[in-house]
């Protein structure tokens, strides 16, 4: 498990001169011109690129109140975030099967539909994968019972 995690994460974050970080940075730079071809007849889009950085570049949270794009993270922060992504990816997930016990994702307040991707936290609270993963990147706690996911996960490893 550790191996595969570092393989995945290695791609994303680990090497200091990482191609992938520059790739992420590049993606924003390259997105600008491409968009401008779409909106050519709508007029020049000069302030758009920086605007897009704010709105659409995924922000990471080296600590919960601080958000920065991948290109501006220190190596230590990258490792910490990579570990967190790895942990989140290893939480059990599945496909909603229409169970009557859980009906709604309390984050987006939308009822589960058969086939929705859901994630189960160690406390057994269930959310849409997209809704809960985004939150866990900011705070590793269950929004419903505030149980810390990390320690709950460790406990469940120890008892198994």
């Amino acid at each position: 498990m550790g191996n595969c995690f570092w393989k995945i994460m290695g791609n994303c974050f680990s090497s200091p001169t990482s191609d992938d970080i520059s790739l992420l940075r590049g993606s924003n730079e390259r997105m600008g011109p491409r968009d401008s071809t779409i909106s050519d007849h709508l007029g020049p889009p000069p302030p758009y690129v920086s605007h897009e950085d704010e709105d659409h570049a995924y922000m990471y949270f080296p600590s919960p109140n601080v958000s920065r794009p991948a290109s501006q993270l220190t190596e230590e922060e990258q490792i910490r975030i990579a570990k967190r992504i790895g942990l989140i990816q290893h939480l059990p997930s599945g496909v909603y099967d229409g169970s009557k016990k859980i009906r709604e994702c309390v984050i987006c307040m939308i009822e589960f539909v058969v086939g929705d991707h859901v994630r189960y936290l160690p406390c057994m609270h269930t959310y849409h994968v997209d809704c809960i993963d985004d939150w866990l990147m900011r705070s590793l706690t269950c929004p419903s019972c505030m149980e810390p996911v990390e320690s709950a996960l460790l406990t469940s490893y120890e008892t198994n």
Binding site: S27, Y58, P64, D134, T141
Partner: protein, 196 residues
């Protein structure tokens, strides 16, 4: 346009399944917050909650709400109506809204400019002042209703540990609820409030 960005981002980091997922997610966040806020607005219109009413400042902007809070009974604010605005970020509910009273409110946890300082509107994380427990911070399951219930309870029961308005806090501490300065606690204090 959003689709073009998703596809383009996918093309660039196709091997990075995880990065890919998060890029897509940030683009989806706006749609999610709009849906969620619309749903809450419809719910509040259909089943109003006692103690406040809520609507949009401008019908075209789902991210800016105006609420009218009724001063809770048996408090210094009884009889008053207090107007406040809520400003939601595009990535609500992952991040909390900001709340600002438009009516003048004299309260230990409300800045003199109206900004509400309450722990559930603060993002989780290291608490630089050491006053707030993690479980009192923002959670993505908070709604306009739960936020306002907390604010109404804050009006009745100020938190004097971390005052935003130090003058109001010291008055509160020295005079407590015997403090009688009608009108001082809210500019929209009604006649009933002045009698109290």
């Amino acid at each position: 346009m959003a689709n073009a960005q998703v596809l383009h981002a996918k093309g660039l980091c196709h091997s990075l399944v995880i990065c890919n997922q998060y890029v897509t997610q940030s683009i989806m966040a706006e749609g999610q917050s709009t849906l969620l806020l619309r749903k809450q607005l419809a719910d509040l219109k259909k089943n109003p909650v006692e103690g406040f009413s809520a609507g949009l400042i401008d019908d075209d902007d789902i991210y800016k709400w105006e609420v009218l809070i009724i001063g809770p009974p048996d408090t210094l604010y009884e009889g008053g109506f207090f107007k406040a605005h809520l400003y939601f970020p595009k990535d609500y509910p992952q991040k909390p809204p900001k709340m600002k009273f438009i009516s003048d409110v004299w309260h230990p946890n409300i800045e003199k400019n109206g900004d509400v300082c309450i722990s559930i509107l603060h993002e989780p994380g290291d608490d630089k002042w050491g006053y707030e427990k993690a479980n009192e911070r923002w959670l993505p399951i908070h709604t306009v209703e739960t936020i306002l219930i907390s604010v109404i309870s804050m009006l009745a029961d100020p938190n004097d540990e971390s005052p935003a308005n130090v003058d109001a806090a010291s008055e509160w501490l020295t005079c407590g609820s015997s403090l009688s300065a009608p009108g001082k606690f809210g500019e929209e204090q009604s006649a009933a409030g002045d009698d109290a």
